[in-house]
Amino acid sequence: MDVSQLIDLVSGELLNPDADLTRDIKGGCGADLMSDVLASIQPEAVLLTGLCNPQVIRTAQMSDVSAIVIVRGKNPPQETVNLAKEEKIALISSPFGMFELCGRLYQAGLASLEQPVTDGPSEME
């Protein structure tokens, strides 16, 4: 699935029109906790989130996310849109909620790119 197909599927609005719509989406990940995203997401995923601040874009960039879908039709602040433009990561606003979006994408054949992680005690040097 590429980004333009994703936009159709989520009835989304692309907030940065110059983003690369040909990028491949290998699967999905949904979270509002950016540390969870950083811990578990695999490269080339679509990130579903209810969070609207610029940290979403930074997190996406760090974890090689292909596209971001903001849930429940929220409009992120301009600084978030600007950063998405700068980093050329597609930022999409969808009217659907998180549960509905996960369901739609999963049904369309998109796999989970949330890698299972153990939160066992870390060791120190």
């Binding site: 950083l38 930074r58 760090m62 939160d119 120190m124």
Partner: protein, 332 residues
């Protein structure tokens, strides 16, 4: 048709598609002035059609603007010459056969405007006007194509050259121990710019030829550490990245307030962050745990009232993707 054959028939593969979008970008970035022909051959309004036809043939041009006292009054194309030939009227002045309603374009317009015009009208050339309305040049489909191709090649070469230079940095310099050090100052509570340093670190590593996996691990570790400085420190802190051919060392330090209980701080889910931090998607007590997963070794030291220092190392030889320090059970 076999899949091999069908693949051959696909004219646009991924790498080509990438270039197409870059061309589209360039069509908006480039201005008409940068690709137009400045050396315009004009026809005087008194000129006879026979002379215009001779000029077209000798100069191998297919059209030219017509001027009267330096002012643009029309445009004569090869089709007009043919009409005139058919009518056997070659002694007529060019003004009789020229198109007098001339469409023009501004030198400051983006190239895409000319592209749209050519596609929609089928017209072959557009006189280019400067800010004062004087003719500055002329643009044809050929100028557009060569201008775009030239700009595309230049932009690809620039990026390749940057990456090439960076990735050969270590080969070109001889010393007992060569390293590149990047330093960043992080302001406290600067959530708008939070992650900029880590973003630059990741970009630098990719440019230096690091694998995407290494750049990703390093980026995530740096980002969590950077957010820690923004969220928790009194006066911000510093990040120092030392890149060597075989390892990357991240050193993140601040001058307070310090961590009272390091053991708890390393436990997943332990957090001292406020609700407002949590609303930003951070402060869930996963930062140090995430860092541990990304790096090959880490060391956290802190003195309350003095400051905290987090040192992390990522080795470049063993590219164990996603299996950082925490994933290696045999390491104690």
């Amino acid at each position: 048709m076999s899949s091999e054959e069908s693949r051959k028939n696909i004219l646009v593969d991924d790498s080509v598609a990438e270039n197409i979008t870059r061309v589209e970008e360039l069509a908006y970035e480039l201005k008409i002035r940068e690709v137009m022909e400045r050396n315009v051959r004009t026809l005087d309004s008194e000129l006879k059609m026979q002379s215009a036809a001779d000029l077209f043939r000798q100069q191998r041009i297919s059209g030219a603007p017509v001027t009267k006292n330096g002012e643009l009054i029309g445009i004569l194309s090869i089709e007009d010459v043919i009409r005139c030939l058919v009518a056997n009227d070659m002694d007529a002045p060019v003004t009789r056969y020229m198109t007098s309603k001339v469409r023009t374009i501004m030198a400051t317009d983006p190239v895409v405007e000319a592209l749209k015009f050519f596609v929609n009208t089928g017209v072959g050339r557009l006189p280019v006007l400067d800010e004062k309305g004087n003719m500055e040049g002329i643009i044809t489909k050929g100028d557009l194509t060569s201008g775009l191709l030239f700009a595309l090649q230049r932009s690809i070469q620039e990026e390749e050259l940057k990456t090439y230079r960076a990735s050969h940095l270590f080969e070109d310099i001889t010393s007992n121990r060569t390293s590149l050090i990047l330093r960043y100052v992080i302001q406290p509570r600067d959530f708008t710019h939070g992650g900029t340093a880590s973003s630059n670190i990741k970009r630098a590593l990719l440019r230096m030829g690091a694998s995407p996996q290494i750049a990703r691990r390093c980026g995530i570790a740096a980002y969590e550490a950077e957010m820690n400085l923004i969220i928790h420190t009194t006066n911000g802190g510093n990040m120092r990245v030392e890149i060597e051919p075989h390892k990357i060392a991240l050193d993140v330090f601040d001058y307070g307030p310090g961590i009272p209980d390091i053991e708890s701080a390393m436990k997943p889910g332990y957090s001292t962050a406020t609700d407002s931090i949590r609303e930003l998607g951070f402060g869930a007590g996963m930062g140090l745990v995430n860092i541990a997963r990304c790096v090959d070794s880490m060391k956290l030291e802190s003195v309350v009232g003095k400051g905290t220092r987090l040192k992390m190392t990522i080795l470049l030889e063993s590219e164990t993707v996603g299996e950082g320090y925490a994933g290696k059970k045999e390491v104690s």
